[in-house]
């Protein structure tokens, strides 16, 4: 997901239009009211939509759920549980990998996948 200089509402609206959905149609597909969606698109809500709603929006728009949820200012639902499952390791892992370049992160992810495969 790019457009980092734009707000979540602006990006949401642009993606919805690009997919050819009217405000009302998209609201219906993601099960919110058009008035609420309009407020979200204009960044006039006190807090971002729930993760469940953001996931639905990402699915309808064909976006990555993780990126969409994070961009909206929420944390993907499963992450707190994962971190809390190994509080001695996951916080350290995140802090250590913070600042790595995207291709280095990709390499780490691939390595981790291989390690998991071997264990299976």
């Amino acid at each position: 997901m790019t457009d980092r200089q734009k707000t979540f509402g602006q990006v949401l609206r642009a993606r919805r239009i690009a997919k050819g959905y009217s405000l009302r149609k998209f609201a219906e597909l993601v099960d919110v009211s058009p008035t609420y969606l309009s407020q979200v698109e204009r960044d006039k809500v006190e807090s971002p939509p729930t993760v469940e709603r953001l996931n639905r929006m990402a699915d309808v728009l064909g976006e990555s759920r993780d990126e969409f949820v994070s961009f909206a200012g929420r944390v993907p639902e499963d992450l707190p549980r994962i971190i809390q499952s190994r509080p001695d390791k996951f916080p350290e892992l995140l802090r250590t990998t913070k600042g790595l370049k995207p291709d280095q992160l990709r390499e780490l992810i691939e390595r981790a996948k291989e390690m998991k495969k071997k264990e299976d």
């Binding site: 609206r13 050819g20 009217s22 609201a27 009211s33 058009p34 008035t35 309009s38």
Partner: protein
């Protein structure tokens, strides 16, 4: 839209012939049909035309609070390319407002297509009738100055295109013969005969209105021009 040599009315828009406005509405539908692989039919996808074709930013907002106007339905900001409809028309909260919601959107499309150029000219000449941040037109249910009447007429033509109305009438009635109010079971709602006539005609055309997703009132007005609905039985009818 081609500008004609015409007298500017008080609110900065010229007199426009009904034929001109209908042609402009038809042109807009044809543009959208061509660009989006759509065949002109009912109901007209007015929301998509506003957002996807005219590329106007659309929002639903509490306009009554924003503009301090009690009976506001919608508003258009030309400079910002924005259309907003009052929150009370949101059809998801109030399904009976769907026809008014759609008509308000078509009405704003009318302002965009019929009046934008005059606004721009006034702006260029420093004769602005609104400033940046203020809507060019605030559309209310009670006040109908000429520009508002024109936008209403445009909306009727856009939501109920002449040829589609004709086909729908033919399918419904089995012919293209007009119907006069005297041929219908009378509806009495007041002591005013004009109001009773309107109510009679509107009850008659309610099912057609549903097909076009417009109000029975809008359908009745459209069916009176072209003359499918008549106030008097013409001599040639029987």
């Amino acid at each position: 839209m081609a500008r004609t040599s015409s007298t500017l009315l008080r609110d900065g828009v010229p007199f426009l012939r009904e034929k001109q406005m209908e042609a402009e509405a038809q042109l807009l539908l044809e543009e959208y049909a061509q660009a989006h692989d759509w065949r002109i039919a009912a109901p007209v996808p007015v929301e998509e035309i506003i957002e996807l074709h005219l590329k106007l930013a659309f929002a639903i907002e509490d306009l009554r609070a924003l503009l301090s106007v009690d009976d506001v339905l919608g508003a258009i900001w030309f400079t910002e390319k924005e259309v907003r409809v009052d929150v009370r028309l949101d059809p998801s909260a109030n399904p009976s407002s769907l026809s008014r919601y759609r008509f308000t959107l078509a009405h704003e499309a009318g302002h965009w297509r019929l009046h934008r150029q005059y606004y721009q000219e006034d702006r260029n000449q420093g004769k602005l009738f609104d400033g940046r941040g203020q809507p060019a037109f605030i559309c209310r249910s009670s006040m109908k100055p000429p520009a508002e009447w024109q936008a209403d007429f445009f909306a009727g033509c856009m939501l109920m295109p002449r040829n589609v109305v004709r086909s729908a009438w033919q399918d419904w009635r089995g012919n293209l013969d007009p119907v006069a109010v005297q041929q219908l079971p009378a509806v009495t709602i007041s002591t005013d005969s004009k109001e009773n006539e309107n109510a009679t005609l509107e009850r008659f055309c309610r099912s057609l209105a549903g097909q076009f997703e417009v109000s029975a009132e809008a359908m009745r007005i459209r069916l009176e021009n072209p003359r499918f609905l008549l106030r008097e039985v013409p001599n040639t009818l029987f």
